[in-house]
Symmetry: C2
Subunit: 409 residues, 2 copies
Amino acid sequence: MGKSLPVSPLAPDSFPDLPEIGGLRIATAEAGVRYAGRADVMLAHLAPGTTVAGVFTRSATRSAAVLDCQAKIGGATGEGAAILVNSGNANAFTGRRGADAVAAVSKTTADRLGIPAERVFTASTGVIGEPLPHDRITACLDDLAARLTPGGLADAARAIMTTDTFPKGATETVTIDGQHVRIAGIAKGSGMIAPDMATMLVYIFTDAAMEQPVLQDMLSVLNRSTFNCISVDSDTSTSDTLLMAATGTSGIRVTETNVGFMEALRRVMLDLAHQVVRDGEGATKFVEISVTGAASDAEARVHAKSIANSPLVKTAIAGEDPNWGRVVMAVGKSGARADRDRLSIWFGDLEVAREGQVSPDHDENKAATYMTNEEIVIHVDLGLGGGTARVWTCDLTHGYIDINADYRS
Amino acid sequence: MGKSLPVSPLAPDSFPDLPEIGGLRIATAEAGVRYAGRADVMLAHLAPGTTVAGVFTRSATRSAAVLDCQAKIGGATGEGAAILVNSGNANAFTGRRGADAVAAVSKTTADRLGIPAERVFTASTGVIGEPLPHDRITACLDDLAARLTPGGLADAARAIMTTDTFPKGATETVTIDGQHVRIAGIAKGSGMIAPDMATMLVYIFTDAAMEQPVLQDMLSVLNRSTFNCISVDSDTSTSDTLLMAATGTSGIRVTETNVGFMEALRRVMLDLAHQVVRDGEGATKFVEISVTGAASDAEARVHAKSIANSPLVKTAIAGEDPNWGRVVMAVGKSGARADRDRLSIWFGDLEVAREGQVSPDHDENKAATYMTNEEIVIHVDLGLGGGTARVWTCDLTHGYIDINADYRS
């Protein structure tokens, strides 16, 4: 890295106005972990009483920070908490030294903020396998603690970027009992994106008051249809972390029965998930794969992921080629049930295949014109049952090869 | 297609001298299915008594020809058999018309050769989803039948090419009881290569006399460690077909106890499988992934395939970057058992990681120099048990995008 990449053509027009969340203060710093001339560490301090929930990668080679966070989720909330994230180095596959580095930054953070080390959640993102120069991070902590401020989420979104070409944020406000409850989140991620349980680095904050098990269940359920439904390149990170903190400063209690809050949280999560796809390495097209008529929702998802991860489907989209035959191939190889002669396929509103063969309505020119759009919807109906799924991905272009054939050099 | 691709830098120096196989006669023709100015159909006639075995794609959207072949394997051998293959059009996902086309070319072939239609094995390879202009093929059959000749395997290897940049052939001779038994095979394939049960199009012939169940079992077993262990792009074809015919004209009976024959057949299959990888779309590196120390052979294979199919591993190899962190990632996401802190990795003879962290012997410059080789071996030891696997793949380059972003246009 080091050279800066052009901003993705699929980037949103601007970064949203993120509100201050009561009980949350943030600071960023230039620790020089790997990058020069930019902030690469963020510290978030959470007020006493804040509950924290998390969803993490299921990789068997998870990073030390992920293992540490998983052990800490659900602890006592009395003395507040902190989130400390660095970019540039993932501290993954660094053995005993990796765990020691997490312990060291957790302890220093805890000391500076006067909270227990068991309430410091860390994450590291960047190159795998190189020892984390954690002294550079701990050296910044006095300064970070001194500069904590209620705003700062936008700066934090920038500090955690690696190959990202734009910072990612989303927010919603829900009115409950006439009072505003705020949700604001930031994310990073653009490559090694095929979340298994969670994805990338995502931090969401709310001033709602929520019991930890409620927050955890809500986050886990919503994760299934948001971050778990995106893929850039089918490669699953060792460091995927989604944390959500509820500070309670609004005084409004939210439980699992609050559908309005859940809907708003889902919109924030889906917005952030889509932004990650829009920043997919080399992406020029944002693609929705919608599967209906599968034998079950689970099988619909298997088909949808198989299409979304197929290099031949993704290169056809890059080439603006309405090559529905490759969609058939991806359905066929997925392992989930399919009947070739019941399969129908649409590109946008254009039916290209019906019941196992080219649609009588198929017009190659119209389909080719549709493929020139920046946003593409591919809909497959299996004609078997009521199972549905939607996943989001991007195309596979020369840009992906450019970025990944020399990421480290 | 139509534009011709440069020959893969990984191609063998020359096409091997394939022997005549008694009982096998071949002809090729320019049917004009899709390509102009080149042979695109091959017909093989097999003498009465020839046994035929086959292994096929497990895709749920298999082509009509694959379904037809599967139904025909194991039939009576008294009147001989035929294999008819066209390139340019896969006749896959063509509904009722696809099955009708297979029936039509089978019947015409049977009539011309005086054999039952149940003994005509067909295959089609090329674009998916477009109706096969089968009249162009049947129109050639008089001519093909008239020109059948004992040589001709080399021409056949060319006639079945699609995006292949070189024809693929391999041969072995085994001495049994002082007499020669010959094995000769041809293959095509370069993209949509991630065989599940069989792969691509492969035709192998021997003049050994073999009972069909023996031939079938031997082919199925050997397929597991040859064609089923290669991957170019993780995409599984709808048309993968591996057929082997034993004509018996040598008079030498081969059974499952003939280890020498099995070893020779395995060498032919592995040679052809490696040639397919060497012709992988855009390939500039031939890569062996060797996994040891897994909990079982099956889990070793899951890890090996996960590494071989990872776009991030494949782009790192293209970039000549000894990025072992991405190998760790691919092990972690595979779903098979792994213990991060027992994992060791070698690039060639260079140990780059030991027991979960960078090896004390790691020398980045040496590793980078190793990656400039045209043939790369990545060895991962899980440190868990005795499970092993070896698979072969190629790198992921701009050439793959070039070829696949406009295959149809």
